[in-house]
Amino acid sequence: MTIPVGLFTAFIIAALAIVVAAPLILLSLWIADFRRGALW
């Protein structure tokens, strides 16, 4: 049972989308912690 190209593409694109969002999420958390004086 082979994974069809459409499902394979969706799988890769979905993973890539989260990897793209991850640095933006980390930076926004950093700004929020920095403003509250709660970095460390």
Partner: protein
Amino acid sequence: MNAVDDAILDPTVGWLVLAAFSVIWIFLGWFWGRGSDQLDDYVLAGRRVGLALGTATAMATWVTSNTTMAAPQLALQMGVWGMFGYSLGAVGLIMFAPLAGRIRRLMPTGYTSGDFVRLRYGKTAWRIFLVISLCYSLGWLVSMGMAGGVLINALTGIPYHYGMSVILTICVGYTLLGGFRAVIGTDFIQALLILVGLVIIAVLAITTVGIDTIHSAVLEERPELLNLLMPAGIMFLFNNLLFGIGEIFHSNVWWSRAFAFRPGVGTKAYTLAGLLWAPIPIVAGFVALAVPALDLNIPAADMVGPMVAATVLGTAGAVLVLIMVFSALSSSLDSLLAATSILVVEDIYRRHIRQDASAAHLRRVTAWVIVGLGVLTWLLCAPRIATLAELLYFTGAFVASTIWPIAAGLFARRAGALGAISGMVFGSAAGIASYFAIGFYVAALVGAAVSMACVLIGMLLGSREFDWGRLHERGLVQAGSPA
């Protein structure tokens, strides 16, 4: 066949990149380490780490040679199940989230996972646990050091021993100067570099080769990699899930973070880190599936990732790969050095040799242990013995056998020493036997199953209920603070 040598960086460029980042990490280590004279500041960043740095350090530490070397390698061995199985390593981070919150509440003055096992199960279980934990830590340190040498060699042509020595020296240097604060701070920057680098490589692989072309080339040359019913791949998936949980549940790398985070941060940080980490091995593994489409000749299995990246990206892109790889390895090596050093100092030196040692004395000993661990790792990395995946998976049986003793010990009052000891001993033995009898992909599975049976039987037969208050030990008196 394509000549991959054309895409590999000139050694001079490689040395320049290594030198630039070495200066940055060492400077940041010194900068963030100023004033870390207290033991708690040096080994646990003052126990006040917030959500942003907490999430990034958990994520960056878990991005190791797994993603840069073994994930692409396993994608070529196990196909889509290999990629998906690797991403299930994130389940370990997510499942550790509630444990991290509970650890912080139950042990506000704790230092190591060894502290927990000693107070919860007594000295015999503690010493068995220490053997497992220290062997695992050393195995992980060696695999990181080796990965550094191999990757730097593959990308720049710099000899293995030089690359391995540089990465070890730099990580020891900034961890020594800045302690855990340097580890956490650099991890944040390294997490960003890894993510951005991975996005660029994957996007260029897609635009250069195309997902459709990669799919059809794999289907033509290696159809088993796209088979959703690949038995070894499915076994690997469950095995990797348990291996990841075992690695995280027992290792002081993750416990030290639970102790270092502000109250209320641990659960959120580990959950978010797991969710953001999960797609990383999928994207890294996908890059390796471009091998058939690129018609590459891979001389050594553990060089799949860097060779594909170097072929797709060329010289300028290879600089980016080197930075990403350097970050991935540094973020794990520094964490391991910091967490293993306090494990050695607290559980071996303080508890076995100098029980009356002051916090200031332990602070100095920790620095020496960081240097000692660096030297030991270098000595073990010097002869390049096993392939990385083999080295990594050999420890699977041991760590998986600690899952149930740790989890039950944190939540179930009835869990007792006999169940924990038999779980770790018989689980490890059965896991290792299956490693040699069947294969690396079942060792953690068997180890966890046997350990679970032992712990559950121990709970059924035991009658004593543990008093959680016994986990709250009086903390060490820090210099300058009231006794």
